[in-house]
Amino acid sequence: MDRQDVEKALRLAGIGDDPEKYMEQLEKVERLFSQLDRWLDEAPDEPLYHPLDIDTEPRKDEPITSDARDWIEGDEEGYVEAPPLRRR
């Protein structure tokens, strides 16, 4: 990446600013990003854009034992609705 790239990026990003200001930090950013190659052999080909495709299983290792369990009821849409707080 060079000064011309930075000028182009400033234009694309709609920012009126001196390209020179970005050059010193650009070297550091390139050094940071060049580390990506260290790990690439381990990485699968498929990119992960978003963590939402996580496969989640309900947890089995910890049974709920508090008295609170008895009070819990679902609301009309089936979502958990807490009982009112009780004074200690």
Partner: protein
């Protein structure tokens, strides 16, 4: 030090809130915690029996929308922006009776690890005002440190946990998809969540329970059963359910811990010893893949930021600096009203997503992200949680780190944002008068386990009632 759930027990919660407000007001002149702190006379507190925490107050980070209350995101480009609606999390807090006391200072649009990159001046660390409070949720962390209660922040790469560590408070980044992002001003959508800062674990559990209710307006919210089961367990936490840690397996990597400064690593090992005394089984595991986090995170965060922040042009959002034709005005507005760190991330993000460069950095980062996520899931199949420092150092001095050098502070915090896992900062002690925190990461939708561990460490490692001295 306000405990939020005490409002429910109190005969006169409004007088508790008045004391809390006076404390915030007294510290505000010294620390610059708020971009907007409402006047006491302007806040209409009423005690409504149907709302359990009515009469209570809560600070909200200034990138979370609040109806009728200025929301600047720490940026001069939004200095006059008043949202016409509340974020879902704020709606939920109002439903339980909490009133927004003010909007807290932050690194501009969440881009910063120190709290210094705000268009409204830096927040100072309450424990030593010559040091940074951490960012980007700097004001929220400082407010909880000096007055207790809880506050909302947002966490894109550690923005709740890092300031929590530097200010000696609890800070939780929930599982991705647990809390609605409706009304959270986007910086990097695939990484960020609204998080909670609090002094007391039960307060954190109570707030999380309420703000994690499903919001159909946010398509990134999880619709799984695991979500609802977690919410049940949160109720157990704040109603005094089981708190023992006996038998829990916690993984740690000496190589990873020792990448931090010696005195920080020492505090982490001390915390591990305390956990073992509580019955936890500590297991050494390989977490070498976490070193890949920083470069992967910053490539993705900058790419998403460059897209998200295009809307601040002085027309769609923001105030315009007029000069010549339309485009000249846009260039001038963005050049003048966005801060240096924000412009850097937009420019580098634009570069790495442009033709010719996206394959060199961005796509590689997304592939490594999948590898990191798979590795962490695998490791968390062997242990219940992994332990590491929250930050590699104690809070730096004001002005000590800036620009790309600052990114190293996020060494430990970026991984859970890349993978979506929940993570917490728990205060572990002090080194040279400055706070040190430990970070625990666990499986998806086991956020309650993190709060439970925090509760187990109260009185053993962490003192939630510890007061900050004004002269400190």
């Amino acid at each position: 030090m306000l405990r939020l759930l005490d409002l429910f027990e109190a005969d006169d919660p409004i007088s508790l809130s008045e004391k809390y407000y006076e404390r915030l007001r007294r510290w505000e002149g010294r620390l610059n915690m708020f971009i907007t702190l409402r006047e006491w006379g302007e806040i209409q507190l009423v005690h409504e029996p149907g709302k359990p925490l009515s009469g209570g107050l809560i600070p909200i980070k200034d990138n979370i929308s609040t109806r009728g209350l200025r929301t600047t995101c720490g940026s001069r480009i939004l200095e006059n922006y008043i949202p016409p609606y509340d974020a879902y999390a704020v709606e939920r807090l109002r439903e339980i009776g909490l009133e927004v006391v003010g909007k807290t200072n932050m690194d501009e649009f969440g881009m910063g690890s120190t709290g210094e990159n705000s268009g409204y001046g830096p927040t100072l660390n309450p424990w030593n005002t010559g040091h940074v409070p951490g960012g980007s949720s700097s004001g929220s962390a400082a407010a909880v440190a000096v007055a207790g209660g809880a506050a909302l922040g947002s966490d894109t790469g550690g923005s709740v946990r890092l300031p929590a560590a530097y200010c000696y408070v609890l800070g939780l980044k929930p599982t991705y998809g647990l809390v609605s992002r409706y009304g959270l001003v986007s910086y990097a959508d695939s990484l960020e969540q609204i998080g909670i800062l609090a002094r007391y674990p039960e307060d954190m559990a109570y707030i999380l329970y309420h703000i994690s209710k499903l919001d159909t307006r946010d398509m990134t919210m999880s619709r799984t059963e695991a979500r609802e089961e977690l919410r049940e367990r949160l109720i157990n936490l704040y109603t005094g359910g089981p708190s023992g840690l006996d038998g829990l397996r916690i993984g740690y990597s000496p190589e990873l811990i020792e990448m931090a400064d010696d005195e920080v690593a020492g505090e982490v090992y001390r915390a591990l010893d305390k956990l073992v005394e509580l019955g936890v089984k500590a297991e050494e595991i390989d977490l070498g893949f976490m070193e890949a986090g920083l470069s992967t995170y910053y490539a993705i965060a900058m790419a998403e930021a460059s897209s998200n922040l295009m809307r601040y042009d002085g027309v769609l959002y923001g105030s315009m600096e007029r000069e010549g034709d339309y485009w000249s005005s846009v260039y001038r507005t963005r050049g003048m009203r966005l801060g240096e760190e924000v412009k850097r991330r937009i420019v580098y993000g634009t570069l790495i997503t442009s033709a010719g460069y996206s394959g060199r950095y961005y796509i590689k980062a997304l592939r490594i992200r999948r590898w990191i996520r798979d590795m962490l899931i695998e490791r968390l199949g062997r242990v219940d949680a992994v332990l590491m420092p929250t930050s590699p150092s104690t809070p730096p001095r004001l002005g000590e780190v800036e620009g790309v050098d600052m990114y190293a502070l996020d060494l430990y915090t970026v991984i859970p944002n890349l993978t979506g896992h929940p993570a917490i900062n728990i205060p572990a002690g002090f080194v040279g008068g400055l706070p040190v925190g430990i970070q625990l990461v666990t499986r998806y939708f086991n956020d309650d386990l993190l709060i439970r561990i925090a509760r187990g460490l109260v009185g053993v490692l962490y003192d939630p009632s510890k007061e900050v001295e004004m002269d400190g």
